[in-house]
Symmetry: C2
Subunit: 79 residues, 2 copies
């Protein structure tokens, strides 16, 4: 199965990279872009056929390796 993990900074944490992208887009004429948040995206190919097992592994891996739980939150999708 494939698990997809999205890691983003928590809403309360300032995101200078996203801010810079938003300003670049404004200077390119995209005035209708209010805000940009940048995060990380991971695709994990897992040797399991059970969605619940895949989700459990992905959550463990996200907690330990992929995200910093102090400043980042993550979401998991399994398919």
């Amino acid at each position: 199965m494939r698990a997809r993990v999205f890691v983003t900074l928590k809403p309360s944490v300032f995101d200078p990279q996203g801010r810079t992208i938003a300003e670049a887009l404004h200077s390119l004429g995209y005035a209708n872009v209010d805000d940009v948040r940048q995060g990380k995206y991971f695709e994990l190919d897992l040797q399991t056929e059970e969605a619940s097992a895949a989700r459990k592994i992905a959550a463990e891996v996200a907690d330990k390796v992929l995200a910093n739980p102090v400043i980042e939150s993550y979401k998991i999708e399994v398919d």
Copy 2:
């Protein structure tokens, strides 16, 4: 509306960062992780209420700024 853009390296492009994460996970005992691909994730807050307009803006922005179409592909979700 919020558009979410996922940028990943094309399947034919080697992903050393993902490879390194996969090896780190193996050394931590996650033998059932076959492969990891790392990408970028963007959330765009857009001043539009039409999903089709939001998708169009996000695709333009992804082509011009967020992704390098030579080596990367992207997917867009709008909600």
